[in-house]
């Protein structure tokens, strides 16, 4: 079992390596939906058209000066495990992994930028940054979009802006998603405050992998829903100056309150989690994520000192099913994965 992605699984993506406010904000992602004039949207595109779209985008990326050294993968030809690996690394969506017909992904080696071709729209451009870096992410994706636009004729409407296959994305075609780690708010049963803060700004809160996913290991994604009638800078401002500082403050307050009023409860969560991770012989990814989440909090409240954040961030990624099998170099069934996951975690934690 070997393939183009064997090495990729060995390390964490650059966007997982800490950044501004990284004790709470894991990453900032911005994606733009774009379609090319002259081609139907994908629900009406036949095999030939999909191929032509892919070729047009490839040609544009080779000419675009903001993009170089891209790794190009033909998602249609990848096996299930490689596709799952790309989903776990947030390089492609589940929809793109499970889709059919000619479809590709291009990404740069540090995985900070990825372009999905023939997902729901002809192009889905994404930029991922560690911690809270919304302005930086916007500047980068804006430049990439400009560079592509110089070589592609985007579908653009005087009233509706950038046209998308689904009218929910029309206008700017932008989706900003900020991934947050909120263990203390969950422990203190205050997650409703997060939901309220997001609703006030007409933003959505979702689980780790976006749309339709549950919150695993206390990770939440906040993202915008409105793409028409508000400019990109206005949308970005809602996050940067509005909802994110508010949620970060809630989580910090919850952590401080736990330390001050319920230190035993806090320590119990952290050290039980640590004990489970160090001694379990069978562990599911959900259970492991939950314990890792508590240990991550333990590092940030200065309880856990034997594990560095880098190791922990890598574990979050590598205990997921596709990563585990890639690293092991063989396919494993559910129980075998639980065994492998437990021993992988034990080995990594004892190295520290």
């Amino acid at each position: 079992m070997s393939g183009p992605l064997d090495q990729v699984a060995r390390q964490a993506s650059a966007w997982l390596r800490g950044g501004p406010l990284s004790e709470i904000v894991i990453s900032t992602r911005i994606r733009l939906a774009r379609n090319i004039r002259g081609f139907p949207f994908l629900s009406r595109a036949d095999a030939q058209t999909r191929q032509e779209i892919a070729e047009a985008v490839h040609l544009a990326t080779t000419r675009a000066d903001a993009l170089h050294d891209l790794i190009a993968l033909n998602v249609e030809e990848l096996d299930e495990l490689d596709r799952a690996l790309l989903v776990e690394r947030h390089l492609i969506s589940r929809q793109h992994a499970d889709g059919s017909g000619a479809r590709q992904v291009l990404f740069n080696p540090d995985e900070g930028c990825a372009i999905m071709i023939n997902e729901e729209d002809h192009l889905r451009i994404q930029v991922m940054r560690s911690g809270l870096q919304i302005d930086e992410a916007w500047d980068q994706i804006d430049k990439i979009d400009d560079a592509l636009e110089a070589h592609l004729d985007y579908e653009f409407h005087a009233q509706f802006g950038y046209l998308t296959a689904c009218p929910t994305n029309v206008g700017t075609g932008i989706r900003v998603s900020v991934m947050l780690h909120l263990p203390a708010l969950r422990l203190t049963n205050e997650l409703e405050k997060v939901g309220q803060a997001a609703r006030d700004m007409k933003l959505a809160v979702r689980g780790l992998h976006g749309e339709g996913t549950e919150a695993i290991g206390d990770f939440f994604q906040v993202s915008n829903q409105i793409t028409l009638g508000r400019s990109e800078p206005e949308i970005i401002e809602d996050f940067r100056d509005g909802v994110i500082p508010k949620i970060v403050e809630y989580e910090q307050a919850a952590r401080a309150a736990l330390m001050q009023h319920r230190p035993a409860a806090l320590d119990d969560k952290i050290w039980r989690a640590m004990g489970q991770l160090q001694h379990a012989r069978l562990i599911s990814s959900n259970e492991a994520m939950q314990h890792l989440s508590h240990v991550r909090m333990g590092i940030h409240v200065d309880r856990v000192k034997s594990i560095d954040l880098q190791t922990l961030n890598e574990l979050f990624l590598q205990i997921q099913p596709a990563h585990l099998q890639k690293l092991r170099g063989e396919r494993l069934n559910g129980e075998q994965r639980s065994v492998e996951r437990a021993s992988f975690i034990r080995a990594r934690l004892s190295q520290n």
Binding site: F41, S43, H157, G229, S231, P233, G334
Partner: protein, 166 residues
């Protein structure tokens, strides 16, 4: 009895315990409507979208309106009803062909947003409106002054001046 874990509004009436591909036990507690949305519950679904039915019902008697659902795009061949059932448009021209019903739908989805504001392709020669940047910079300047970050404030002031005189 708890609330539906998905919408957190309605009473959970649908309870499912399952084993997922990981071999983990997964418990779901949903209300009927969310269970249906997730494809877990299959009520005898009317073949026509309920909204569509209501729209055409309200529109009955107004011939111009009821004809909306018969609209078909000549470019991609999709009808408005097909779009409402699958949620995906067939081509860019649909935004004009279905302009009237679509505009209402879009405004509802985008909290009243009816027209694009923001980035435009440079090839159209409609560069970003400078007044928009100015408004944003002025707000950032206010914030910087409030935060006593005078270095940033000075930088912002210069950028605003440059824009105002250009």
């Amino acid at each position: 009895m708890g609330l539906c874990e998905r919408c957190k509004k309605a009473q959970a009436t649908f309870h499912l315990t399952n084993i997922d591909r990981e071999g983990d036990k997964v418990e779901r507690h949903l209300c009927d409507s969310c269970a249906t949305d997730e494809g877990l519950l299959n009520p005898s679904k009317p073949t026509v979208d309920l909204n569509e039915l209501l729209e055409s019902f309200v529109a009955s008697g107004q011939s111009a309106r009821s004809e909306l659902s018969n609209l078909v795009c000549e470019d991609c061949g999709i009808s408005y009803v097909e779009f409402r059932n699958q949620g995906q448009l067939g081509c860019g021209r649909d935004y004009d062909v279905f302009a009237e019903p679509l505009a209402r739908l879009i405004e509802r989805t985008h909290d009243g947003g009816a027209a694009h504001v923001g980035k435009t392709p440079k090839s159209l020669g409609l560069a970003r409106k400078p007044h928009e940047d100015l408004r944003r910079l002025r707000k950032q300047l206010d914030d910087a002054v409030a935060a006593e970050d005078y270095e940033r404030a000075a930088e912002l002031r210069d950028r605003i001046r440059a824009l105002e005189t250009s």
